[in-house]
Subunit: 239 residues, 2 copies
């Protein structure tokens, strides 16, 4: 059945156990507790054995980041799939809410992936979810409310590049969009939405609001409403 040899299966198995142990340590006792010796202890082996699977502690941590991104991506896709309204506005809302819920439920993972001054996030990991969803919502929002001249000219170059990235992202999934639908004004608003979404979630996870918010959820929903209005659809959108 399985194409792999016995050795390959065993290797894949312990590799999975390593990731699992690392993840558990991160969740339960924080980033600094993800130590080679602790992981090895969990598997009943010794620390040097882990070097047969990862070049260094840092490499293992990077792998951990990838795993986290992948898990989060499937959760966001789940949220997308669970929405049966067919309205893109509802889909965006569902995904954003799920992103917030995921971040609050996984603060250590969120901090590791989204708030470490390390190399930029791999575009193939978290990026794909974001790009996929962003491209989809832009493409389906046929009413072009934002003109290109709304955005400063200095930003055009960057936004055009992002425009191409978005077009590529959705075209991989078989969807083609016309240039006039995916205009710079909309792209700019998408970026601004990411700023607000990330800002709110990170502030909430890290407890950095300027005052104690007893129930941040309505505030988040309110921001989401404003975001969707700004981006161009609210109440009046069709799939």
């Amino acid at each position: 059945m399985t194409e792999a040899t016995r050795r390959e299966r065993l290797r894949a198995e312990t590799e999975r156990e390593i990731r699992q142990a690392a993840r558990a340590l991160l969740v339960e006792r924080g980033r600094d507790a993800v130590t080679l010796r602790a992981i090895a202890r969990e598997l009943g082996i010794t620390a040097p054995a882990l070097y047969r699977y990862y070049d260094s502690h840092d490499a293992l941590l990077r792998q951990l980041c990838d795993d986290i991104c992948a898990d989060m991506a499937t959760e966001l896709y789940d949220a997308l799939a669970e929405d049966t309204s067919g309205q893109v506005g509802c889909q965006v809302r569902a995904v954003c809410r799920r992103f917030r819920r995921w971040a609050l439920a996984h603060p250590q993972e969120f901090a590791l992936v989204f708030a470490s001054p390390r190399d930029p996030l791999g575009a193939d990991q978290f990026g794909s979810v974001f790009l996929q969803l962003a491209g989809r919502l832009i493409a389906s929002n046929l009413v072009a409310k934002h003109a290109d001249d709304e955005v400063p000219e200095v930003l055009h170059e960057d936004l055009v590049r992002f425009q191409q990235v978005l077009i590529d992202a959705v075209s991989v999934h078989g969807v083609t969009v016309e240039d006039d639908v995916l205009n710079l004004g909309k792209i700019y608003h998408v970026v601004q939405s990411w700023v607000r979404l990330y800002g709110h979630v990170a502030l909430e996870v890290f407890g950095r609001f300027p005052f104690a918010v007893s129930n941040p959820e309505p505030m988040f929903d309110s921001m989401l409403d404003q975001m969707l209005t700004d981006i161009g659809f609210q109440e009046d959108d069709v799939s």
Copy 2:
């Protein structure tokens, strides 16, 4: 001249050296390099000696956070003082720009203070700057463009509390504001501005924009314009 005894002066001196060494290590080699032994090495003493000054490594790190906040606060106040326009819109812009510049110039410090899943920030540190400035801009923006009923009712309770915090913050500095000037609509917009400011800066510092932005400054300025417009003054404000 100095009221302190000789011993107290010496103690204060080495304490300052400890903080300074810790700060240098953080800046030059990252959070994980801020180690008791490294600090001690820098001062020419041994690690256990540091326990005469701090209860633990964690306590020292907390002190470091406070120092960073204090330094950032003076920088932001500098930016405020350097603005001679007398227009609050310009002041807000100056402070926000300085905040971004500071964060980009001090990524490790920013990450430690603003993106660690630890206890909420001490309100007396960074909070005072924010509250002071926010209160000031709200109080001076006499045109009440935002009505209370713009904000969802669920948020009223929290916003009223924040309103009181703001009033207290500015009243400490001798300024008194009337309730109708500092209405909930404005307060809500202040919080939203903080979300966007923090979001953009953190994304830039951590390199988490969904695409490579070649020159993020115009994008920041553009967001700042939008923020100031949303909050109620732009071009047409008087001190």
